[in-house]
Symmetry: C2
Subunit: 283 residues, 2 copies
């Protein structure tokens, strides 16, 4: 027996018509923004949305504006049929799958430019990234009129940036964060993990081991020493470039002040072969 | 007999509670964004809103982010009591009057950056302007959840920029343009006209005379010659700096191609003493 596949909308007017019908019946709606290539992390966000809303909409859109010309837009995995089958198993009601032209018609020009939480970290290495993410997420929110939007903690800075945008622009929806889902060895699930060779895959979990050790050390204020050790450990495991391993304020993403009593977050990004991995854990 | 003054909201939560109550009763809502110092032009926009919506909300907020440090933020006329009395005469239901802190709380950082229609003209002379306008209008729209927003054609490029933003960001509301309201001699009404001395006021209408002559000439393709004559006429009338007198495509604001058959718009901006006047008319 196969679960019913979700319906697919590909125009804003069709999406709005369907959401309006739900709303007229008093139902609330959760949006799960994705770029497809779905894994258990995405499915957990659909389940999270269902705990708060009557209806879930998963958007599948590989957003060109958040890729630099040198990045993997053309090779990013596109597995639409498989995605629909997976979404059927978690009771997703609708897939919002606009074309690039529906999202960015001729003459499109307005940008949402985030700052605050968007400064530093990923922005130092992917300066185009959060502008693209903020603009497309703002559009996804206003297109769908969702009451909730679910984002994984795996992309922790992105979650902070989206929260800041929603607060700053008074967007009338609530952001629901979902815990990072990991493979059995601890590697954070990511659509890009499929780029890893078998040999790289066996070493990828070192990034998680390192940030856990930094978080443990941070409780006693020993994190700087453990960051240095961890960086060496990543290099020894074959990570060719380490973009950052750092402890930040969990909300503002500015430098963490342990004495303040505010929660900290350990964040890391590093390259294993041609694959850039990111991960984070709470202090 | 005095008409009932509109209620005043000063927090987003209070505004949303009131609008939600209207919505629950099946009523639609029009927003009229203003910076106060209301004149007949603003009041005509409230009347316009009432032709389409059951309820009208007039926002009064002198938005600091659309003024350059050299501009008139501190001296911009603030006439709140008088504004409420005028709004009572046209049946406005609610005034949305946030404080600067309610609009831009500590840590505010996200900007809406318009392009397309925002390029050139005003942006050449006030490069900060449309970024401030787009961001605050986006917020006013999402704060109020209005179905309609009314903007005067007096600020024609602003109207085009807002339309582009609404289209680009899929904001779920309709922009209603209102015709420019003029004094008996033809001068476009503006809150800044009160800066003019009696002597300046008597010459201010020359800007309207000039753009009407350019529009007339444009029908026969003779506008370049009449722009040159008009510029001389403005100088002779004592306009000290003429920022632009130009004919543009009425929608894109790019150069007007008369042969295309597309509608044109004559736009002008010029300084009379310390007051910058703008005006526009259809070809």
């Amino acid at each position: 027996m196969t679960a019913k596949r979700p319906d697919v909308s590909s125009t804003v007017s069709d999406l709005r018509r369907r959401v309006a019908a739900w709303r007229a019946a008093g139902e609330r709606v959760a949006l799960i923004p994705t770029m497809g290539a779905l894994h258990e992390g995405h499915l957990s966000l659909v389940r999270l949305g269902r705990t708060r809303a009557h209806r879930t909409v998963t958007s599948i859109f590989v957003n060109p504006t958040q890729f630099a010309p040198t990045e993997d837009f053309n090779t990013y995995p596109r597995t639409f049929d498989d995605d629909l089958a997976k979404l059927a198993t978690v009771g997703c009601d609708l897939v919002w799958a606009p074309t690039a032209t529906e999202m960015y018609p001729d003459g499109f020009a307005t940008r949402v430019v985030p700052a605050g939480a968007a400064e530093g970290l990923e922005t130092d290495f992917r300066p185009h990234f959060f502008g693209g993410v903020a603009t497309v997420c703002c559009k996804l929110f206003t297109q769908s009129g969702a009451d909730f939007a679910c984002f994984g903690e795996k992309d922790y800075q992105q979650l902070c940036v989206i929260r800041q945008m929603v607060r700053d622009l008074d967007l009338p929806l609530e952001i629901l964060p979902g815990a990072t889902i990991r493979e059995s060895d601890g590697l954070a699930m990511s659509s890009r993990n499929r780029y890893l060779s078998a040999n790289e895959r066996s070493r990828a979990v070192v990034i998680h081991d390192v940030i856990r050790a930094v978080a443990e050390a941070a409780r006693d204020g020993r994190h700087q020493a453990v960051i240095a050790e961890g960086t060496a450990k990543l290099s020894a495991a074959g990570f060719r470039t380490i973009d950052y391993v750092t402890v930040r304020d969990a909300e503002t993403l500015k430098d963490w002040d342990r004495e303040s009593g505010r929660p900290g977050r350990v964040l890391a990004a590093a390259w294993l072969g041609d694959t850039r991995l990111i991960d984070n854990v709470a202090v």
